[in-house]
Structures are given as C-alpha cells and as structure tokens.
Amino acid sequence: MVNRLPGLIALALIAALVGSAMIGLIVAGGGDGSFGPWSYIGSVIRISVIQAALSTLASLLLGAAIALALARRTRFFGRPVLIAALNVATVLPAIVTVFAIVAVFGRSGWLGDISRWFGFDYGSWVFGLEGVLLAHLLLNAPLAARVFLAALAAIAPEHWRLAAQLGMPPRAIFRFIDLPVLIRESAGIAALIFLACFTSFAIVLALGGGPAVSTLEVAIFEAIRFEGDFQRAALLAVLQIAISLALLAPLIFLFSRRAPEAMPTGLSALRPDIGATTTKLADRIILIGGGAFVIVPLAAIVVAGSSAVATLAVPVVARALATSVAIGVPAGFLSVGLALALATLGRHLRLQSSRRRTADLIGLTALLILVVSPLTLSAGLFAVLRSVVSPFAIAIPLIIIVNALMALPFTYRQIEPPLLLAAERYGRLADSLGVKGLPRLRLMDWPLLKSPLIVALTMAIALSLGDLGVAAFFGTGDLVTLPVLLFERLSAYRTAEAASISLLLSLLVLAMFLIAQRWSGGWYARTR
C-alpha cells in the first residue's frame, strides 16, 4: 500500500488539476461559437512557426559551429570560461536574457553606444522579430553547443587514427565523421528548441513589440488578461496543444529511449584536422565571434548589475525576493513530492512484469505536462475557479501548483531511474532479509536517491524562480515576484534597476544549479 497510495493520490491530483483545467477551458470556450478573427489567429500561428523555425535553425548552426571549434581546440586560453558561459546561458531565466539582449544590442546598449561613438545611430531594432530571434539564440545556441560537443567528444579514437592513415582533408573529416554525429543529435535537440521557441512567453512579451510578433502562449495571456475572453483563450490553447503534441511525439520517443551515456574520450587531440590552416582560421573566427555573442551579454548582466547594486536596497525588491522564494521553495518540494510518489508507483508496477505498460504510462503522464503549457493550465484553472472564488485571491497557491506541475517532467526524470536502480540492486536482498517499511526506505532507497532528490529539488526551485508567465497571469498589482518586477522595470526602461534585479535573479538561479551540480554525480550530466 505504501508503494501505491501516494502515487495514486499524485496521479489523481494531477489528473484532476489538468483535467478540470481542460474541461474548464472547453466549457468557457463554448459560447456562441464565433471565435473571432481567424486572420489574426492564423497570423499568430504563422509567425510563431516562422519565428521558431528561424530560432531553431540559427541555434543549431551556431551551436554546431561552436561545438566543432571547441572539439578541435581542446586547449586554448579562455576555453573554460567559454564552456562555463555556455552552461550559464542555458539556465538563465528568459526574462534575464531579455535584459542581456537589450543591454548589449539595444539602442542605448553597449553596441548602440559604440556605434554612436563612431557617429552612427542604428536606431531601435531590438523590438520585433530580430530581438526575439537574438534572445532565443542566446538561450538555445549554447544548449545545442553543449549537446553537440558532448557527442563530438565521444567519437571513438579509432576514427581519428583511420582518418589520419587515410590522409583525409578537413572537409572530408567534417563530412564523414563530424556531420553524421551532428545530424544524429540534431533531431532531438531541434524538436526541443523548436517547442521552446514556439511556446516562448517572456521573450516574446518583452521584445515582440506588439501583436506583430506573438506566440500562442502570449495570445492566451492577452486574451484573458487584456480582454477577459475565455473563448478565444480556449481556442488558442487547443490549437497550441495540438501543434505541440505533433511536435512532441518524436521528443517523447527520444526521452523514453534511455540514451547511452556519452563518455568523452578525451582523445579529440588525435583529430588530424587541427593542424590545417583553414580550420585554424575558421575556428578562430567562430570562437571569437560565437564566444563574444555568448559571453558579452552575460558580462553585461554582471557589469551593469554590479554597478547598480545599490538600487536593490528598496522594499519592493525585498518583497519580490521574499515572494519569489515563498513560491519557488514550496513549488520545488511539491514537484519533487509528486515525482517521488509517481516514480514509486511506477517502480511498483514495473517490478510486476505484467504491468510494465502501465508503468510506462506513468512516465508518459509526467512528460505530457510539457504539452499543456503553463498558460493553458493557468487559464484553465482560472476558468474553473472563478465562479467559486477569485483566482487573484488565491494567486500564490495557484502559482505554486502550476510551477510544480511544470517542473514535473524534469523532477520525474531525475528521480525515476535511481529509484528503479535501487530496487533492481537491493530489492531481493531486502526481501530476503525481511527489511520493510521505513528502514527499507532508509537502507535501500535513500543512499541512491539522496543526490537525485537534491538535484531535482534545486532544478525545480530554479525553474520556478525564473517563471514570469504564471506569476504575471495570476498576479495583480500587489503580487510581485523578481521576474515580474524585472519585466516592469524593463518595460519602464529603468535600466539600472533592471540590471541589478537581473544580476540578483541570475545569481539565485545559478546558486540553485551549482548546488545541483555539486550533488549530481552522473545523474545531472544525463539530464542536460
């Protein structure tokens, strides 16, 4: 019973929340059936697809270029800095990325100042498609680079020896050895990046420059918070779920396939193409250009933020920090609790060989949450609750619940494998010794589970700390989290205050990830 009850409760809770949100939206969407301007909705979808496709393509190209250059150049001054910057850029909250882009590329940013110094004013172009693409590139190219680099570094040394023996020129090496690896890795990472950009919220809200560049996620937010139009929100949500589901199908396959651990061989130094003048030149350009694109915006956060650190000493920042923590920490624990309950139930079923299918379904439940976007879930819960109680009055619990559910795919993926491993390794021994109940948990599960639990908790807290959409959706004037405050400061163009809040938020999220990394061992590497 201990094995099943918490899991069944968790499953019922998730089903009830997601199910009632969906039904709530559909009922609210019933209405008179006039869904309004198809040309607008069609445009939103068209622009989202174009934007996400361009973002994905650019991220993959830049990511692959950086990864190749890093794979070829295993030793140069600044390599550790670049690797660290790639890691940091992928975990930054989206709204902080917005600040970094504005601080560097904006008209009053570093690039704008430099070009004006040369007597050239390039005006405001950071709003609109260009700004959105830049921000998505800064967030996702480093992610692609890390995945590609791990795969390239794992190429077996035999390949390099053979290539050297055959005297393959750099172009042939790229075509026959690197390219197949890059293409193999591209499918999964492309789907992930496309989905992230297609449902992007904070970046599009802040940099889209009005309805001309939008996503369904932003349109759902606007339909309800601007116009109180649940009907349109429901239609947009259904469309988004349908499109995400089609996109996610290949991802679910990739997620469920346990990827073989890519072990870096450390033998890239054997690559015969590192001596060629062409690759030397290309790598130099890529590492300087690509490196600057990633490092300079991060540096802007640190430089602008630390010089404006005095602006943090106002009550509203302290209150926002307290609210963010009061939401992030419970959301993290709730997410881990749900994941643990689900994984325990899944393990119980999996160990009975006849129930394996059912066990797979539980894993799928955790993943399917990715399809129900944060704002779809928020809008649905709002529609259900509003006849009973004002959702604004219970905003904080609602934000905690939605954030916890949103982190579930990640927390579940941390917790499920070691839990299963513990049973596989020690289950029979524990059975034969008659170890049951709490001692079984302490002796059998805890040693393997401790680190993944901490990793899952810190990741979930970090995700929740960076959330803008859900907090902005349920929040009214009084409820201000750090990302909401940052968004307000950015909109009001109070750059110094935006800088210091960006730095504070980045440090908080980074601290979470550093704790995760400290405890991660092998598990952390596998999730990224």
């Binding site: 939103v44 009005g210 309805p211 601007f226 709002f382 009084d478 909109s491």
Partner: protein, 336 residues
C-alpha cells in the same frame, strides 16, 4: 526568564489589538486606477493626502497597468473585487464598464463642469479631459507631420511608439481616431504605419518612457504633455503635433462599485473628486485639463499649448458596438 517572554507576548498582543482597533476606526477606501495616476510622478500622492485630511479614512490606490487592464481585471474579479471605486476609465470604455453590471449610480448632484461636452451620465463622473496627440522632440524632428494622413502615408516618416488598444485608453483612442479618419480603409492605414511602429506598449507610461529615451521620433500622448517639460524641466523642445483634421478627445471618469462596503465614503470621494482638493492636483500631476478648473486657474505652462482646430468624441454606445470588431481588425492589420 519565562515570565519576561509572557509579558512581552502579552504586551505585543495588547499593542497589536490597539493598533488594529485604531486602524478599524478609520475605514479604508480602495481605489483601482492606472499606474501613472497613482505612481511616483502622478497626482495620486497629493490627492491621497488631501482626501485623508478631510475623510478620517485611509485611501488605498491599487495600480493596475492602464485603463484597459483596469477594466479586464474588474471583469475577471467579478463580485469578489476589493475595489470601492474605479478611477481612470474613459468615455470609450464606459459602455463596456456599464455592461459588467458592477457599477452603481453615483446619485450626486453635480455642479457646473468645465468640460467641452455636456455631461449627464448617471454612473460615471468625469475628473479630467484632454486631446490625444503625437508628441515629438523638436530638437531631433524638425518638420513633424501636420496631419494624421501625412503621418500615415509617408514611408520615410517619423518612427512612432503607440499603446495597445486592448490595454490602454490612449491606444484605444488612436484606434478610434484612425477609424474616424479612414473608415473602412483604417486597416490599410495601420498596415502602412506598422513598419514605423517601434513597439506597441501596454500602457502610456512605458511608451512615454521609451520615447524620452530616444527610441522613437514620436509617441502617442496628449496635447498637454509638453506642459510637463515646460513646468518641471523648463524645457520647451517637446511639442505636440497639431493635426489639421482635428484630434480625438478623451474624458476620464470614475465610478462606484455596486458591491462596495463603503458606499457613503465612496460618494464622499466622488464629491471630493470634483472639488479643488482633487482638481488642483490634476493639471500639474496628471497633465490633463481639469474637469473643474480650480480657483486659481490653469497653470502658466498650459497657456503655451497648441489646441486642435476640431475635436471628436464618439458616443460610448457606438464604441461599444464596434470595439471588438475594430480591435480584431487592428490585430489582423498589425500581424499582416
């Protein structure tokens, strides 16, 4: 040791109850308004001080973005709203506001108002008015357009920042202005202006802030905005472009929430709203024309302001019937 703690707790409890009791003696009036009204530079602070001096109450401003957001929030909150008064809607939104059924009649005998239109509404009372206009920096934009048609038509014309008509009353005002000027071709006009719209902001404050940072040549604001720069900064370079076709007008209003638990206090506030204690804070706080000109007249800076040759104001009902369709038309034109 333990007795000390008990004494301390008891003292704190007594103190706490006393404070709570004295707070209860003074009722709180909660007013929803747009952010630039209650914000740091708005008239909210002075008005709060003046009203609290005579009401024996607390006045609590709740800022909610711009006027459109204000109304959407009220609709979403329904009967559970904590607002006693909503201040900052305009005539273009009052028909929609009336439809929500959340407002009560004001039942106040209004004296003479200094409005360019006659006022008979039984629910809403005006507190200020003005003309929408594009404001520019004459130091950087030497020859501003002299008509809306010129602004729209010239592909090399000035860049602009406007507000979203779904969230902002100036944004909605411009939408109606365009509709008034171009009728069925308004969507063409928007599509023609669209490449020069640097960004569409949610509220007036964001737009004006971006403009002052130099992000665009012109910003949708009011003919009265330059008065701020003249009076506060002694700066005359900011001007409002006066358009030959005439300007859309705005009358800003407030109303009482039907479910308020402070109906008397709310009425007292609305009466106060058309008195000197409130109106004197409007010209050099909200930078609009007061609904009742205060005893010592309009400030000097207002004398220098340009005035449009013609004004438009659409009947609220006409706006309400078409608002949704026109916004959808705008959305479609902007995403073309």
């Amino acid at each position: 040791m333990r007795t000390h703690i008990i004494v301390a707790i008891a003292a704190a409890a007594v103190l706490g109850t006393t404070l709570a009791a004295s707070a209860q003696d003074r009722p709180t009036l909660t007013v929803y308004t747009y952010s630039s009204f209650a914000g740091e530079y708005g008239p909210g602070g002075a008005i709060k001080e003046n009203f609290e001096a005579e009401c024996g109450c607390f006045l609590r401003w709740i800022e909610t973005g711009d006027a459109g957001t204000l109304l959407a929030r009220l609709q979403l909150e329904g009967n559970s709203t904590t607002a006693d008064i909503v201040l900052g809607l305009d005539t273009n939104l009052i028909a929609l506001a009336r439809q929500t059924g959340q407002f009560a009649e004001h039942e106040i005998e209004l004296g003479a108002l200094d409005l360019p239109v006659e006022w008979t509404d039984e629910i809403f009372i005006p507190f200020d008015w003005g003309w929408f206009a594009f404001v520019y920096d004459s130091a950087t934009l030497e020859s501003p357009p002299t008509s809306l048609a010129e602004l729209i038509a010239d592909p090399d014309g000035p860049s602009v920042i406007v507000q979203d008509p779904r969230t902002s009353s100036p944004g909605l005002g411009l939408l109606l202005w365009m509709k008034q000027m171009f009728g069925d071709e308004a969507d063409e006009a928007w599509a023609s202006l669209s490449p020069r719209i640097v960004t569409v902001t949610r509220g007036w404050s964001e737009a004006y802030g971006l403009f002052l940072e130099g992000e665009a040549d012109m910003v949708l604001s009011y003919t009265t905005s330059p008065a701020y720069h003249i009076a506060v900064e002694g700066e005359t370079r900011y001007r409002a472009a006066i358009f030959a076709e005439g300007h859309m007008m705005q009358v800003e209003v407030a109303g009482i929430i039907a479910g308020t638990d402070q109906p008397e206090l709310a009425r007292q506030f609305l009466r106060f709203m058309v008195s000197d204690g409130f109106q004197s804070a409007i010209p050099e706080g909200n930078w609009m024309y007061p609904a009742v000109v205060p005893a010592d007249g309009l400030p000097e800076a207002f004398a220098a302001l340009g005035q449009p040759p013609t004004s438009f104001l659409l009947p609220p009902e006409e706006v309400e019937v078409n608002r949704r369709a026109w916004i959808d038309e705008w959305l479609a034109a902007m995403t073309r």
